[in-house]
Symmetry: C2
Subunit: 331 residues, 2 copies
């Protein structure tokens, strides 16, 4: 795959995060399940925004955070996602391009407002996400260029985008293009509620051999496998993909590739501020390692380093110099 100029091309929801502090009482009063992600419509987005505290806006979106991390690690990344022709859409495009990510999907003016995610961060640093998908769910299959997909070593897709029909078709088209071009396909299960909605679809993708690298966290691998034991879940899913990477929060992460298995501890941190983006940045580090042909163990270590950086400040994109933090692991 060495002749491919892009290390990773991602397809994801183009979302601006609106982050605020909230306490448990506010979550309870709003009937929100701490740590979860729920989809909301525009009316609920306006209502909840009116109830919540002052916001800090910064670009987010799971796969967008991942490619921003990959670029911050010094690799070449691209992104495909839909924004509207509005202020938040321009902010999103600016922020991604300013990190060095190739982002060429044209804004649409016929799809309502750009997506936003109202993120409530509790004092325990957990984030409860309320996502209005808006324009993001209107990514058309025509936004996928087979030439762009084939220019990447790895195509990375987020499970969140499986919810709406239009981008799901776009992702299917991208997978077809990737398989035809020798581009590896990586997929993140994103969220356990996402799996409860789409378990059959996700399993079919995996069983059909269309996924090479699968990302999950502990809840997600249990939900996908319908096992109650972590090791049983890993044993059930790992044989179906080339590489399985599973994050376990403060317990670190594991990866399995055939008979090979590697583990890494979580990186030490000074202070936990906001876990938003932890999984996305783990994926950034791990994919950077895989795109460079590094070992499972080194890829896991890169993931742990990138995740540790992002949870020590508000916002889901790296602020510190990830290349420096990665040291000689990527050189």
């Amino acid at each position: 795959m060495t002749d491919k100029p892009l290390d990773v091309l991602a397809i994801g929801n183009a979302i601006v995060d609106v982050i605020t502090d909230a306490d448990d009482a506010f979550l309870a009063a709003q009937g929100l399940d701490k740590g979860s992600m729920r989809l909301i419509d525009q009316g609920e987005a306006v209502r909840l925004y009116g109830e919540m505290g002052p916001g800090r806006e910064s670009s987010g979106g799971s796969a967008g955070n991942t490619v921003a991390g990959i670029a911050a690690l010094g690799l070449k990344a691209g992104f495909i996602g839909q924004v509207a022709d509005d202020e938040l859409g321009r902010i999103y495009a600016h922020d991604l391009r300013a990190t060095g990510v190739q982002f060429t999907t044209p804004a649409r003016s016929d799809v309502g407002a750009s997506a936003r995610c109202l993120i409530l961060v509790t004092p325990d640093a957990q984030r409860t996400m309320n996502t209005f998908l808006g324009a993001a769910q209107r990514l058309p299959a025509t936004a996928i260029s087979a030439a762009e997909v084939s220019s990447a070593k790895i195509l990375y897709l987020e499970g969140y985008l499986w919810d709406p029909e239009e981008p799901r078709a776009a992702m299917e088209a991208a997978i077809d293009a990737a398989r035809a071009a020798g581009t590896k396909v990586a997929f993140t299960l994103s969220d356990s509620f996402c799996i409860s909605r789409h378990r059959d679809g996700f399993l079919k993708l995996i069983d059909d051999g269309r996924i090479d690298i699968l990302f999950a966290n502990e809840d997600e691998i249990l939900a996908l496998s319908v096992e109650s034991d972590f090791e049983a879940a890993v044993a059930a899913v790992a044989p179906k993909v080339s590489v399985l990477a599973v994050t376990r929060s403060e317990k670190g992460a594991i990866a399995v590739a055939g008979a090979e298995r590697a583990e890494v501890a979580a990186e030490p941190i000074e202070r936990l501020v906001d876990t938003t983006g932890a999984g996305d940045l783990f994926a950034a580090g791990f994919l950077a390692g895989q795109a460079r042909g590094l070992s499972l163990e080194t890829s896991l270590k890169l993931g742990a380093i990138a995740a540790a950086e992002v949870i020590q400040h508000y916002g889901a994109r790296p602020e510190a110099d990830l290349r420096m933090l990665a040291g000689n692991l990527l050189s």
Copy 2:
């Protein structure tokens, strides 16, 4: 003044901050003077935004930050400022109201885009500000209600707003209403470049006895008095106002009221991240003390506490619980 329901009513530029990291080389390449504030037009705002890194958006504006701080200290504050009927304008209004500040100025749809300030934060935590005033400079005198002004113990005005003609007239009308109603008038010189543009106007305001409480930093008091020695500058200006408060960064702050003089050291901090908002939050603490009728020394201490909080994170509004930090000073 105890029958007035608002502690402080402020008039200022309603600005959303777009904060990014930058190094000295970027400032040099852009020809920017570190630590300064400059006004830019929409074309330059678009150009510079395109050159700069990913942004974190949060509501700002000098006097807006001050009233957000006053509300966070548990006092009642109001704000008068102009936003456009657009996304950033809605974000601005939300953020201010969510802190508990009374903000009723209607958005205008005939004045272009809402104001934004592109803030470049260098590794030494200094901020270099590039402000597109947009709608903020179109605050009309009709936005001033004499009844609202008279409902406040203190009217607080930012020198930045003296630049454009329309809000200058609005501020003059507000000062008239304040003086007629026994509302004290506080004014911040804002910026030394602001003084170089408006020194005569500022001096006339002061000499005419229209300002009760004057805020300045070291550069500003020197620029206003055209003295080269700090003590000489203080001696020249202090007799012209009831209260003079001067901030001196890491050297703390002083206040003079007639024959009385008080000083306070800067509060110890764990880490300096972004000095944006330091002066604004000092003013918040100091005005809170003055509105409660506390001593010069206690007012200075409250200012130092609020300023210390805001420089330890990105963004110009408090994130920690200022009431708790103020302890029993305000109880």
